[in-house]
Each structure stands twice: as C-alpha cells, then as structure tokens.
Amino acid sequence: MNNILEVDSIQTFIGQFHILEGVSLEVPESSITALLGRNGAGKTTTLKSILGLTPPREGRVVFAGKDVRGQRPYDIAALGIGYVPENRAIFRALTVEENLKIAERKKGDLARRAEMIFGLFPDLKRLIKLSGGQLSGGQQQMLAIARALVPDNRLILIDEPSEGLAPILIEQLMESIRSLSAHTTILLVEQNFRMASQLADRYYLIDDGRTVKQGAMKELVNDRATVHRYLGAA
C-alpha cells in the first residue's frame, strides 16, 4: 500500500516552546490512521505542522510524494488536504450551503459531490439555508467534516470530532466517518479511545512531542498496559 503522507521526525516550536521533538508517522492510502496521546502531547500541533499552520523547523512532511514542509498553508491545503479543526470550526455567519460552497477549489465541486456528502450527512440537506450559528453542536461538527469533503481532498485531518458531543451523536458521527473512509484517507486525532479503536486501522501514540509507539489498532486494543500508560483510562 502506498503512503499518501509521510512525516519524518518533525520539530515544531511555538514561540520559544519546543512542542514537537520528533514526530514521525506514515498514513497509508484509503485507511483511517489514529493519532493518540494525552492532552498536550502534541496531537493538534502535529496536524497543524502537516498543514503548515505551525511550520516545523526540522524534518520532512511528504504528501503524495512531495516534500511540502515550508510551503504556505493555503498551498499545502490546495494540494488536496482537508482539515477539520477541533471545536466545530465552521463559519457561523455563513449558511450551511455557503459554508460548503466556500470550500470549492474548482467550480462545481459541491454539485459533483453533493450526493456523496448528503448521503453521509442527510441532516445538512434539510438545514442547507440555515446559518452555521443556528446549528446544534453535532450538526456543526458534521458540517465541518462535510466541508472538507467538498474539494478533491486525498487526505483529511480530523481533530477531536467527538469533543463535547452526546454519546448518541458520537455513534452517528462514527458511522459517518467509517463510510467516509471509502472515499478518502483519514488521519484522526481522538481522545476518545473507544471511538478511535473502533474506527482506525493503524495507530500512532505520541507523548511529550515524540512518537513512542505505532502499529495495528487490533494489537493496541489488547495491550492494556500501553493504553493505560499513555492514555490513562481505557
């Protein structure tokens, strides 16, 4: 299987703080890879470093065979990376339709993928004329993910999608993300280990800004000691 993304020992600073001290990971095409770790381990910074929002000082970020480290975030995104930041990052002042439309990279992207998107998130079709701010938390999260599906993205980075959602919504969301993986590759950051373990094929564990463990998700599920050590509860 080809790797769509290869991150090789990146070092990222935010201000004077050395946040990532060597994170490496590989994301095989058409899979769900989970990035796990405690609060503050550097998961979100890893996603932001891939996209260039917090550019790494050292290391390599290879997307689709091309080293993108040092490029501008909007140029990296335009190569085909969708980003779903934490906290339901939608545009509250824009309608659902405008939120989707704004993500078009080529004219007609939304129309071409409307069937797939509304198949995954039927609620959004019903709410299309409402403004983003009028949606519930779960609906906003769906919209944020749907927005990443509008352009031709080969990789989607999703940060903590279950945060602050009711359990029933998490179930729905998991279903959507699972079906999504048929269309694209996903790198998922998730605190909710139960959710991550049911979705992902592979995992990377990061701790204190370093990759400490990796492998098949099946193995991690049975390795209680590791889960307990790096993730606390399980």
Binding site: R72, A77, Y83, A103
Partner: protein, 343 residues
C-alpha cells in the same frame, strides 16, 4: 423581489421626491432658500454615505480595522482638484485618474501592511494617513495643494457647478450613492464576499481551507479605497475645493462612527448612519450652539448602549421588531440597576 426590497424602494422614492416636497412645503423654488439648503445638506449625506459604505467593506465585511481611511477620501479630493485646476484635465479624465491612483495607493498599502493584524494594522494605516496629512499641509507643495489653506477654486463646467445647478447635483450624488450601494452589494454577495466573511470570522480557518487570505484582504482594501476616493472626488466637486480636513483622522473617525451607529456589516446601515450623523450634527449645532458636541457625545453613548449592533444590525437581530430590541435592552439595564441597588 419587490416585496423583499420595499423598504429600499420606499427610501429611494422618498429621496427622489424630497427636493420637490421641500419646495412645496416651504413655498419656495428649488434653487432658493430651504429647498436649496436642504438639497445641499442631503448631498453631503450621500457623499458620506458612500464613504461610510466603503469603510463597511473593511470593517463590517472583512473584519479589517483601519484608522487611515481618510487617506483615500483625501486622495480623491486632491487628485481631482490638482488635475482639473492645474492640469486642465476634464472632470471625466480626472475621475479616471482618481480611480487609478487610489487603486495603486490601496494596493501598495494593503500589500505592505495587511501582513499585520488587528490593531497593528490600524496603527500602520494611521501612520500612512498621517503622512498624507503632513504632505497636503506641507508648505513645500503650496503651489499645488494650497498647504493648510487647501486648494480652492476648482473650475468646473456650469452643469456640474453645485451653486448653479443644485438639483442636478443632488440627483448626481443620489445616483452615485445608489450605484455604489448596488455595486458593493454585488461584491458582498459574490464568492469573494463569502471569503471576506470567512476571514472576518476566523482567518486561520479560511487559510486552512486553502485561501491565500492576503489576496482577498488586499482586494477588499482596493475596492474600499477606490470607492472612498470617488466619494472624496465628489466632495471636492461639491465644495469646489480640497482641504486638509478631507485627509484628517477625524474624517476616518466619522466613517467609523457612521458604520458602528448604522450597523457594521449591513451595507445600508452605515449609509443611514451617515444620514443620522450629518443631519443630527447640523440640527444640534443650529439649536444648541456651542454645546452641541456635548449632547452629540451623549447621544453616541446612548446609541451604542441601546443599539449594540447599530440601527440596522439591532433591527435585523430582533427580526425587524423595535419593541423586542428595546425591551431586551431595557430589561438588561433594569438588571444592572437592581444589582447596583443591592450593593
């Protein structure tokens, strides 16, 4: 279409009828007394409405706070004045030059300063506008700008002379305001306008979707700059002069107040704000004499307290019901008073 826009259409109809209504009520001809004066007052309202509208593109729609918007207004006034008076250009050619120069100027300032954000951008624009102010007041260029006295006696064809053809000038300014309003509405409703809104809300998000936001911010700055310069050019035609006041920071503050009081991000709000401020300023000045600014200040404070999103913004937020808007605000203040008493 007609139903949804009836308020706009009614307002436009009222403005078209206004000069004749004034003449009828005052019993004076269009070019004398109250009608003449009233039209003059409204011409200034229209000009500042366009200026405030151009400011709303930056502040209300793209979320850019500028303290230097008067630079473009002044650029328009002085460019037109100098080219027509000393270059003997025709008005039309001079207006073309105003557009070109303002576009270039805002492009330069945008590219140079939009990399900094928020209040830092505001400070950089204030610096640029101050440079403009210093230049037009500098005695070195007295032959061109008239230094602190300003440039006076811009020669215009009779038909455009506001003293001779007041009603024609009234309709010219009204048409200008209407056309600019429709144009800006078009921009704001375009895909680029959505990106402006996205930037206003969260620039990092817009970047991570794949937008080079600098380009869109520069684009907004250019459109706003050119429109402000056109308003300034019309202001120079109206006064037949260009004075340092057009570049002054107080002119920027006026646009800021018109936008906030009318309702930032609503387009029509800042235009109404311009009307309220210009007319209120005039009448308070006439009735109260020198203390008028004190009363004016109090009214500002009350407007901001009771209409937190401006006139149009608050109206829209409450679904077009003043009663709801007022009672909500009154309730809030009653709560504050109760709390104060308990202490």
């Amino acid at each position: 279409m007609l139903k949804r826009n009836w308020l706009y259409i009614a307002l436009l109809a009222a403005l078209i009828v206004l000069p004749y209504a004034l003449a009828l009520v005052a019993g004076e001809p269009l070019d004398k007394g109250v009608p003449l004066f009233g039209q003059g007052l409204m011409v200034q309202v229209f000009i500042f409405a366009v200026f405030a509208l151009s400011y709303d593109i930056l502040m209300g729609h793209t979320g850019i706070l500028s303290f230097g918007h008067a630079l473009f207004f002044g650029t328009g006034a002085y460019t037109l004045g100098i080219l027509v008076k000393y270059g003997h250009w025709s008005i039309l050619a001079a207006v073309g030059a105003v557009i070109a120069i303002a576009a270039l100027e805002s492009l330069l300032i945008g590219v140079l300063s939009l990399r900094v954000h928020g209040v830092y951008f505001a400070m950089v624009t204030l610096a640029f506008a101050t440079v403009g102010s210093i230049l037009v007041e500098a005695t070195d260029f007295r032959d061109w700008t008239g230094a602190e006295d300003g440039l006076h006696g811009i020669p215009v064809p009779d038909l455009l002379n506001p003293a001779l053809h007041r009603t024609e000038f009234y309709f010219l300014s009204l048409a200008f305001a209407v056309i600019v309003f429709l144009l800006v509405k078009r921009f704001v409703d375009s895909p680029a306008g959505r990106v402006w809104a996205a930037i206003r809300e969260n620039e990092a998000r817009a970047i991570s979707i794949g937008y080079n936001t600098l380009i869109f911010k520069v684009q907004a700055t250019i459109i706003a700059g050119v429109l402000a310069a056109l308003a300034g050019a019309l202001y120079a035609l109206w006064n037949l002069s260009a004075t340092p006041l057009t570049m002054d920071v107080s002119t920027t503050i006026n646009a800021l107040l018109m936008t906030i009081i009318g309702g930032s991000g609503t387009l029509i709000g800042p235009m109404l704000g311009a009307g309220v401020l210009q007319l209120l300023g005039y009448f308070l000045n006439t009735w109260l004499g020198s203390v008028w600014q004190l009363v004016f200040g109090l009214i500002y404070v009350l407007l901001v307290l009771f209409l937190p999103f401006g006139i149009v913004g608050t109206w829209r937020a409450r679904g077009g019901s003043w009663r709801a808007a007022w009672s909500e605000q009154l309730g809030k203040w009653r709560g504050v008073l109760k709390l104060a008493k308990r202490r």
